[in-house]
């Protein structure tokens, strides 16, 4: 057993932290929240130069050939700093499923572009029913000649408005179970018939409604097998859930650090408020939630990274981290008092992201039900 | 609107508190937890002399003609004193059933005796399914000549071992719905075929397993109409639940009072522990819970007392008070530290009663479900 990060991982963490502190200050975060695109092409280019987009892409596709565990380290720092933009959707929701199920041709075409920062991707999975279950997929893909014709509405698709490719999860057959008959397509985002609108969300993270109206996709753009796409979605969801947890623990730690610093500095009744027992109890509970979130996240990330069965552990982690991140940012605002409730204060940035992340890839009730099933209930 | 108690009610409270402090010290409470009967006939007699058993019965049946809310005041004081014995089962569970469903003859026969303290009664409602819904009533009553024969098992029947009469809720028909076919009988506790076994419970209250083996009950002992007993039970449960909430509120207030007194007196680190913010906040949370419990209980009791529809209010009260009483006693224990963990201490009396009261007449989840239904869900 070894519960430490490797030296390389620690170095990755330090350089990521330094880079993001310099290149992505909170002023930029706020600016990008309000911008239409939601990311900075300059920053995106610099990240590509650091090799971040290709971190987990094998060398032969111009990547760095590192592991999911390494990616998690990077994501933790991105969550800590709050990095707006399409890194998550491109790498986690785009590169990873292509790596898992893409044909050699698809990999050769797209992965080097991703690694080079030249392609932005996203996955269109959820629909107005807003569930992450196979039964929620109604967007139809019907074969016609050498193509499939896609029709339907996808909702909560991050960065679709700037994406070059959209991996669309469709229904190609009504099977005996909802998991049957799911097929994934790599759709050129410029294809005629795609309409995309950004929806204003709590974290201003550029989630979109994407309407597919008779969108024609060549058969060769099918990702994985016909009708058997659900296991790929499930695998991607496991990876994405843990990637999200990694981001969340970074954010939770940042919210805790800010709050501890404030409690030491803010003076009331002639002493720092951190000397009051009530504040100390809040902070020790926050510390516990953050530390436990990290431990549980690392365990599940490691299992994903090793390719071990991890359905239960992933659900355990996400359910716990959801609550912990919300708790920490809510208490964080409480300790900061009125100042923490202002739109200009950084605590709010984290608070809003905690609530956005809570629902992404399944909220706590959803995860608890997964755990219950895994327990044999 | 008048949210205060009347002068008479305040007087009743004061006399009850004084009386119980003197006549029912905690030493007696602890003794009765170990005692087989679970009550002392002397105290029972004195309570009867004060008119408590007949408090809420009409004068024509030997009662004092006071209201349910008056009774709630008394029950609150009983909860505060942890009064052991068969008051609740005799007066609330059985007295009210007879008053509600009995014919004139039955009322004339039983109510004055209850008011005089000459009778102890028990309600045999729950069975091994341990639920409070009509489908749970499985025990059979079959007509035979001028009698009915009752066979089956009742569980969690308080004071059945000392009861002169047991009111037994039986199934006489398998109707279209579970509510149909329920009939209530007044069974002589000494009838052949009844065997009672005391259950060992945390609160040391005298709950019993009662086995009816072809117990013969004359038809004239039917309470209310054949097959239509569930309406009576439903109404009774509403009253009993409100009454139990009143008892619980009294207990919660006592646990709070004790904890505050201890926080003022116990010195650690050179000062009373009540001067520490953590303890102060515990007390603040406790008093919030106690007050919240009181007001929601009083509202429910008032509605019951005035014969208004009270299903929603009673369920809101029980859902809230069940958890609040538990929280209050848990914090009380935390404030008391090790001393509160001793059997000789009074704190465990309240903790155990809080835990015992939680599932009685439905736990918080059960009542939340009732509230949800009332909301039209």
């Amino acid at each position: 057993m070894n519960l430490d990060f490797t030296e390389e991982q620690e170095m990755l963490r330090t350089s990521a932290r330094d880079f993001l502190t310099t290149e992505c200050p909170k002023t930029l975060v706020r600016e990008l929240e309000e911008s239409e695109k939601g990311y900075s092409p300059e920053l995106w280019k610099k990240m590509a130069e650091l090799g971040w987009m290709g971190l987990v892409i094998p060398d032969k596709y111009d990547g760095m050939g590192m592991q999911f565990m390494d990616l998690a380290v990077l994501l933790e720092e991105m969550g800590r700093n709050i990095l707006p933009g399409p890194f998550f959707s491109t790498v986690v929701l785009g590169a990873l499923p292509i790596l898992s199920a893409g044909s050699e041709e698809q990999k050769k075409e797209i992965l080097p572009k991703i690694a080079g920062g030249k392609a932005i991707l996203t996955m269109a999975l959820t629909e107005p029913s807003a569930t992450y279950e196979a039964s929620g997929v109604h967007t139809k893909a019907v074969a016609r000649g050498n193509s499939f014709i896609l029709n339907g509405t996808k909702l909560f698709v991050e960065n679709a408005h700037i994406a070059d490719y959209i991996i669309c999860v469709t229904r190609t057959k009504d099977g005996a179970s909802p998991e049957e008959g799911i097929t994934l397509f790599l759709v050129d985002a410029k294809s005629p018939g795609i309409k995309c609108a950004v929806i204003p969300t709590i974290a201003l993270d550029k989630q979109c409604e994407v309407v597919f109206e008779n969108v024609s996709v060549p058969k060769k753009n099918m990702l994985g097998e016909l009708d058997k796409g659900w296991p790929l979605v499930a695998r991607t969801l496991e990876q994405a859930t843990m990637a999200k947890c990694a981001e969340m623990i970074g954010g939770a730690q940042a919210a805790l650090d800010m709050t501890v610093a404030y409690a030491k500095e803010r003076v009331q009744y002639g002493r720092p408020i951190g000397a009051f027992q009530a504040i100390q109890f809040y902070l020790s509970d926050m510390w516990m939630k953050v530390t436990m979130s990290k431990n549980i996240t690392y365990e599940a990330v490691w299992m994903v990274s090793e390719g071990l069965p991890c359905t239960e552990k992933v659900a355990i982690a996400k359910g716990w981290v959801n609550d912990a991140y919300k708790f920490v940012t809510e208490r964080g605002v409480q300790v900061h008092g009125a100042i923490g409730t202002t739109r200009d204060h950084d605590m709010g940035l984290y608070y809003r992201r905690a609530w956005a992340a809570d629902q992404t890839f399944g909220n706590t009730d959803f995860q608890r039900e997964v755990v219950a099933r895994q327990m044999g209930l | 609107m008048d949210l205060g108690f009347t002068e008479e009610q305040e007087m009743l409270r004061t006399t009850a508190r004084d009386f119980l402090e003197k006549e029912c010290p905690k030493s007696l409470v602890k003794e009765m937890a170990e005692d087989e009967k679970g009550y002392t006939p002397e105290l029972w007699r004195k309570m009867a002399e004060l008119g408590w058993m007949g408090l809420a019965f009409p004068e024509e049946y030997g009662g004092m003609g006071m209201s349910f809310i008056d009774l709630a005041v008394l029950l609150e004081e009983m909860g505060r004193a942890c009064l052991p014995g068969p008051f609740f089962s005799t007066v609330v569970l059985c007295g009210f059933t007879i008053l509600e469903a009995g014919n004139e003859e039955q009322k004339r026969e039983f109510l004055p005796k209850i008011a005089n303290g000459d009778l102890i009664l028990a309600l045999a409602l729950t069975e091994p399914s341990a639920r409070y819904d009509p489908a749970s009533i499985q025990i059979k009553a079959v007509p035979k000549g001028d009698d009915y024969l009752i066979s089956g098992t009742k569980l969690f029947v308080e004071n059945a071992h000392i009861a002169d009469y047991i009111i037994c809720v039986t199934r006489t028909k398998n109707g279209a719905s579970p509510e149909e076919g329920i009939t209530i009988f007044l069974v002589d506790g000494g009838s052949a075929g009844i065997s009672t076994t005391l259950l060992k419970t945390i609160a040391g209250d005298k709950q019993c397993e009662v086995i009816f083996d072809n117990v013969r009950v004359p038809k004239k002992n039917m309470l209310g109409e054949l097959n239509k007993g569930w309406g009576v039970v439903e109404k009774l449960l509403e009253k009993a639940t409100a009454a139990l909430c009143a008892q619980m509120v009294g207990g919660a207030q006592a646990a709070l009072d004790m904890s505050i007194a201890y926080a003022k007196e116990r010195v650690q680190f050179g000062r009373p522990i009540g001067s520490f913010q953590a303890i102060q906040h515990y007390c603040a949370n406790m008093v919030t819970d106690v007050d919240g419990s009181k007001y929601v209980t009083y509202e429910a009791a008032w509605k019951v007392s005035n014969g208004l529809p009270a299903t929603m209010e009673v369920s809101m009260a029980k859902a809230w008070v069940s958890e609040a009483y538990r929280r209050v006693t848990l914090l009380g224990h935390q404030i008391h530290g090790s001393i509160g963990f001793c059997m000789d201490h009074d704190m465990p009396l309240y903790f155990k009663r809080a835990k015992a009261a939680e599932p009685t007449f439905g736990d918080a989840d059960w009542h939340r479900e009732v509230v949800a239904k009332q909301l039209g869900l």
């Binding site: 720092p272 020790s284 039900e369 755990v371 209930l377 | 399914s129 341990a130 953590a278 530290g337 599932p359």
Partner: protein
């Protein structure tokens, strides 16, 4: 990172598990219950000693097994899971032994360590007093020099197993003039000494675990002082040296949860298994999450110790969380059982032998013993996060 145990560690776990499965049977535990010694068995402790597991992580030179912290963790995890009795050796192995190793004289080591590693001598801890609980340093028990001895007079309270122990390690004031932390010394006291009276304190579960201990001019030879005079407070801090993950709490909770899962699967309410009830499912799943979270922080504590670091914050956090988890889990257990939850041991109707209510009440004590959860939160805030003292 690598969350796998090594193969030989897994083999060791299997060996421990097989042993416990054989020894800690339902009948064995019920036998202890009947004797009112739920967590106390000299025989079982001796068996562990014979296996070489009792002091497995102690240095070999003191009769230990020289095992790693991770091996100790595995052992403690299994002991916790089987809810095996540790009362007869906990004090000796975790507290007094390490203190003597760190601060004791050669003579003290020769005299006391073997009895502990062999599982023959039971120790109790005389720290708390009626007016010194969380504020332990304000203790009043006095030790006065007389010739080659000290005469100790005072009262100790919450002394677990005092009525069963052979020896007591206790703190007494040797300099009443000094600031409160600096006038305390650490003594080893033979419980058979004249002047000691042990009076039982029955806890709310109606069990006799702890006691009041009255000391009336108890004569203790000077050679029984551990460390220097007036240094007892600092000597007592070494008692933090043993394995501190508190893994036993989550692993015992895991066993309890498994019992509850079985219970809800086989218990029907009006024809429907409780396991189908969404509220029951959510509650039990929540507990599975918390147990896993607790296990991971406990692993982290052991890991830090394994590497020679002091888990200054993680260790109190694990105890704090574990005790509150036990409270929640057993509370939820009682809730799910409904009216049956209130039944105590010895009723044929009581599910899981009535253990749930008893464990729930015990959990109140665990949130208080060995540093209340409030003190734990203060430690976390001040030592871990660097917040100023109140």
């Amino acid at each position: 990172m690598d969350f796998r145990f090594a193969e030989e560690e897994e083999r060791f776990r299997e060996e421990v598990r097989a042993f416990l499965k054989k020894e800690v049977t339902e009948e064995f535990l019920m036998g202890l219950e009947d004797r009112g010694e739920l967590d106390f068995s000299r025989e079982f402790t001796k068996k562990l000693a014979e296996k070489g597991w009792l002091a497995m992580a102690w240095p070999k030179e003191y009769g230990g097994g020289g095992a790693t912290m991770m091996e100790q963790l595995i052992f403690n995890e299994e002991i916790g899971y089987f809810q095996a009795p540790t009362g007869a050796h906990r004090q000796g192995i975790n507290l007094i032994g390490p203190t003597i190793i760190a601060h004791g004289t050669e003579e003290q080591k020769r005299r006391h360590l073997r009895g502990i590693t062999a599982g023959e001598v039971v120790w109790c801890q005389g720290f708390s007093e009626p007016n010194a609980g969380s504020d332990l340093a304000s203790l009043q028990c006095r030790a006065v020099e007389e010739g080659d001895d000290y005469l100790i007079t005072g009262q100790k309270v919450w002394t677990t197993n005092a009525h069963r122990a052979d020896w007591c390690h206790l703190l007494a004031r040797t300099d009443p003039e000094a600031p409160k932390h600096r006038g305390i010394s650490y003594f080893l006291v033979d419980m058979k000494s004249p002047g000691i009276t042990v009076r039982p304190l029955i806890n709310m579960v109606a069990a006799h675990d702890f006691n009041e201990v009255f000391l009336d001019n108890v004569r203790v030879p000077k050679e029984n002082m551990v460390g220097d005079k007036n240094q007892g407070w600092y000597v007592s801090q070494v008692t933090l040296a043993g394995e501190r993950s508190q893994i036993g709490l989550p692993s015992s909770c895991k066993r309890t949860l498994e019992g509850l899962v079985e219970y809800v699967k086989e218990t029907k309410r009006n024809g429907e298994p409780l396991a189908h009830n969404p509220i029951v499912r959510r509650k039990l799943a929540e507990m599975a999450v918390e147990i896993e979270v607790n296990r991971m922080i406990a692993y982290r504590v052991a890991w830090m110790q394994h590497k020679g670091l002091i888990p200054m914050v993680a260790a109190p956090a694990s105890k704090l969380f574990g005790s509150e988890l036990l409270q929640r889990l057993t509370g939820i257990g009682m809730e799910i059982m409904g009216l049956y939850g209130q039944l105590e041991l010895g009723s044929k109707w009581a599910p899981l032998r009535g253990a749930m209510a008893r464990m729930h009440m015990y959990s109140l004590g665990i949130a208080i013993a060995m540093g209340t959860n409030e003190i734990m939160r203060n430690i976390l805030a001040i030592r871990g996060l660097g917040l100023p003292r109140a």
